[in-house]
């Protein structure tokens, strides 16, 4: 820099500016603080609706579910958060195990069938997400789509299937398989899948993009990613290149996991429970069905177009509460060489 004085002035100016901005920061003290592991794009509109209809202000912090769980565990009983909104049952289980959640009242819990909430009453499911096979008809044997996820280890699907083994959604699916079919059969499935040339992707999104672009024939993902892709490319979900296929009812491949919510012990007053109650009400549940394309947990809400009813889907006969123990699954994925 030819003129150090000008540079110094610029730096000083930037600092003063930053100070001024920093001092005007800071949330509303009376507002309810929500830690959301669910994306701002997906939940912000309904949270704003909550404030509009109840007058309760929210301070929402958005982040990654697993990293937020780590943050909550680090904060412990000094957490500024009142409510934790999480992507999956596993994260809620981890926070619950450390004793950071308070019990929810039965009036709230009873809105959701027992299958989709915590036995210890510490969290409740808000929406359901089904595991599906996405496939590109130009590259996948679309006339012989599998009834069971176990068929994917066969020669028909050699080098054609993508998975995201480091993603929580895939790990929940493997945990479910271990619960339903035992460790030996699950280990064999994973080993065979690997031997069958399974492709590794970092997350569901990458799988859907690659199936859409014909870079891979098919992949195991959560159903709503296909609806998001359909929205982004502006093509109907049953017409876009990345199609959606549900496995047969009762197959572990069609596991339905939940996103859910829990109230932290650090919260005071009734507002936090009011939020949980609101999110299980007709308005919010309809919003989720229409905008995030997930299964509503409250009964009697119409589904997004192209979605089979939740009870016809009949996920595997397992207890979702047991999905919080991922340690065995992680060990198995490492052992097989998939994570």
């Amino acid at each position: 820099m030819r003129n150090p004085r000008a540079l110094a002035l610029a730096v000083a100016g930037a600092l003063v500016l930053s100070l001024a901005t920093a001092c005007t920061d800071g949330g509303d003290d009376k507002a309810l603080t929500v830690y959301s592991g669910r994306s701002e794009k997906l939940v912000k509109p309904i949270l704003e609706q909550f404030t509009k209809s109840t007058g309760i202000k929210l301070n929402v912090r958005y982040g990654d579910t697993a990293q937020m769980a780590a943050q909550l565990l680090e904060e412990g009983d000094k957490s500024p958060a009142s409510v934790f909104l999480a992507q999956d049952a596993g994260a809620l289980g981890a926070v619950s195990k450390k004793g950071l959640f308070t019990e929810l009242p039965d009036t709230v819990l009873n809105k959701v069938s027992a299958q989709y909430r915590a036995n210890n009453k510490q969290w409740v499911g808000l929406t359901g997400r089904a595991r599906v096979l996405t496939f590109n008809p130009t590259r996948a044997p679309y006339q012989k789509l599998p009834k069971s996820v176990f068929e994917l280890t066969g020669p028909l699907w050699k080098n054609k299937v993508a998975i995201a083994p480091t993603n929580a959604s895939f790990q929940s699916f493997v945990t479910a398989m271990r619960l339903q079919h035992g460790d030996d059969r699950t280990r064999k499935f994973l080993t065979d899948l690997k031997a069958n040339g399974v492709q590794i992707r970092p997350n569901n999104d990458a799988i859907v993009n690659d199936v859409h672009d014909q870079k891979v024939a098919a992949g195991l993902v959560n159903h709503y990613y296909l609806f998001e892709k359909s929205k982004e490319v502006g093509v109907a979900v049953h017409l876009q290149p990345a199609r959606m296929h549900f496995f047969a009812p009762g197959d572990v491949g069609s596991l339905v996991n939940v996103s859910g919510i829990g109230v932290l012990k650090t919260s005071t007053g009734e507002d936090a429970v009011k939020l949980v109650d609101y999110l299980l009400g007709a308005d919010a549940q309809t919003y989720f069905a229409n905008n995030t394309y997930e299964y509503p947990m409250a009964p009697g809400i119409p589904l997004a177009e192209g979605m089979p009813a939740l009870d016809t889907l009949k996920g595997p006969a397992i207890d979702l509460n047991n999905l919080d123990d991922l340690a065995g699954t992680v060990a198995m994925l490492k052992e097989v060489g998939l994570a």
Partner: protein, 507 residues
């Protein structure tokens, strides 16, 4: 000369900030117990991951040294056509976050993934860390040494190896160290390009079974690797090798004529710019055109930009304040103490942002609760992460200004603070500016620690980019990415200008 005890005290305080994450790791490792630590660390996987991280760092560092040195040589020592433009272009990749670059490459080329893909993307992102200090060293060096060598009949290649390279060596080593440490800490590129490095394993461990203890124990291995590397760089330093830029010797460099190599050099420079800048630019354009998602209002984008600028500026300001005493100490009172303090600031530099973030969550909750989830704690996180970037620039600027001037001022009766204010600081100012620009840039691009520590409800360009891409809304993400790169280009230009490559000189 500033009072040594005060300088030492201030330096120690600054270094303590850099050590915060290490204390946190120590606490967590202690909680875990030796059995658990051995369980996590003493595995074949740890060895594989370490080797892969070291190999990636090695390849990227070597390639960055070649690219950075070549670019610096071409713009400062040759008659390369358009060398002033290339002088700035060569620094600009610093403005592109690795997660944006990696995504641009994977979405442009089918099956672009793996070790060599990551090595390419990281090299293109990191070589400016070598280019900038080397270009500054070459542009500022006294031309006499090279002229003498030439007059004694040495050819251009012999002059380059025997003289130029030696002049550039301290800058080269410092830049290479930053590149290697960056590669250790990077998560964006390796996760998108699917290379299992140590940092990726640490991030994965947080989601795998929500096991933060395992992740933190793994992080201690990264600190150990960093310590080895930092010690190694120290060992390569020639004793007392300092090349002062003396006042009055600032003459234009003699430029060699490239002759028939002129056009190949031009093509190579253009290719480097096209790969490092063209690919991301092309990809951003494609995002905007292909998708139907739309970003927020102009006001929202403006707010995010304002927040990015504010937190990056606060981080840069705090970091420079902390780095100043450490830099002055290593320049004015070199010795074992200064060296140790300086090196300690590097130890946390290779830790992933997520770990730094969690350590400051711990610090905020248990020690500085009023600061928790304010801009200040985030600024402190940036200081912890980027202290070495600032210390290096300040130390080299202070090292190039002759201590005599301060001694003269003292002998004329000025007090130590007056000398600091009227002599030392003005002389160090260019280095302070460069330090602020480097930290500012790094802060703009930082994501994991920002997500954990930002005030609730505050969005920066980086967090917005993350929010949009998390739901596949690439068209909505594009303006945030473009603005992030565009705003980062300003401090990058300042950095490039500071090297002196923009100055008109004799051909």
């Amino acid at each position: 000369m500033a009072p040594r005890p005060a300088l030492l005290l201030a330096s120690t305080a600054a270094v303590a900030v850099g050590v915060l994450p290490l204390l946190y790791l120590a606490v967590r490792a202690h909680d875990a117990g030796w059995e658990r630590i051995l369980d996590e660390i003493a595995t074949a996987r740890t060895l594989t991951l370490s080797l892969r991280s070291v190999a990636l760092a090695g390849v990227v560092t070597a390639a960055s040294v070649v690219a950075g040195l070549t670019a610096a040589y071409l713009v400062t020592r040759t008659d390369l056509p358009g060398r002033r433009a290339f002088g700035v272009l060569a620094a600009l990749p610093l403005a592109v976050p690795t997660y944006v670059a990696a995504f641009a490459w994977t979405s442009t080329i089918d099956g672009f993934a793996g070790f060599w893909a990551a090595a390419l993307v990281l090299t293109l992102a990191c070589y400016p860390y070598v280019y900038l200090p080397v270009a500054a060293a070459l542009a500022g060096a006294d031309p006499a040494a090279e002229e003498v060598a030439r007059s004694l009949g040495r050819g251009p290649w012999q002059v380059f190896v025997g003289v130029t390279l030696r002049l550039a060596r301290p800058a080269l080593a410092a830049g290479a160290l930053l590149v290697a440490l960056y590669v250790f800490s990077d998560f964006g590129a390796v996760s998108l390009l699917r290379v299992d490095t140590f940092t990726r394993a640490i991030f994965t461990a947080f989601s795998l079974g929500f096991d933060s203890t395992g992740a933190l124990v793994l992080s201690t291995v990264l600190v150990a690797l960093t310590a080895l590397l930092v010690g190694g760089e120290l060992a390569t330093r020639a004793r007392g090798a300092r090349y002062a830029r003396l006042a009055g010797s600032a003459r234009p460099q003699t430029r060699i004529r490239l002759g028939r190599w002129r056009w190949s050099a031009l093509a190579a420079s253009a290719a480097l710019a096209a790969l490092a800048l063209g690919v991301p630019a092309f990809s951003l354009l494609r995002w905007s055109v292909a998708g139907v998602s739309r970003p927020g209002t102009i006001a929202e984008i403006g707010q995010a930009a304002g927040a990015s600028l504010a937190v990056a500026a606060a981080g840069a300001g705090l970091t420079v304040l902390l780095a100043l005493p450490v830099g002055l100490l290593s320049a004015r009172a070199p010795g074992v103490v200064a060296t140790v303090l300086d090196r300690i600031t590097y130890l946390a530099h290779a830790l992933p942002g997520l770990v730094i973030g969690l350590s400051l969550v711990y610090f905020g909750i248990n020690v500085a609760y009023p600061l928790y989830q304010t801009v200040w704690l985030l600024a402190l996180a940036y200081a912890t992460l980027f202290l070495p970037l600032a210390v290096g620039s300040i130390a080299s600027a202070a090292g190039q200004s002759p201590p005599r001037l301060e001694e003269v001022a003292r002998s004329l009766g000025r007090g130590p603070w007056a000398v600091l204010r009227t002599v030392t600081l003005p002389l160090t100012l260019p280095g302070v500016g460069a330090a602020a620009a480097l930290v500012f840039l790094a802060g703009m691009k930082e994501l994991p620690a920002t997500l954990l520590l930002r005030p609730t409800g505050m969005d920066t360009l980086a967090t917005q980019l993350w929010t949009q891409t998390a739901v596949s809304a690439y068209a909505a993400a594009a303006p945030y990415a473009a603005l992030l790169v565009a705003l980062s280009a300003i401090p990058t230009w300042v950095l490039a200008a500071r090297t002196g490559v923009l100055e008109r000189g004799a051909a």
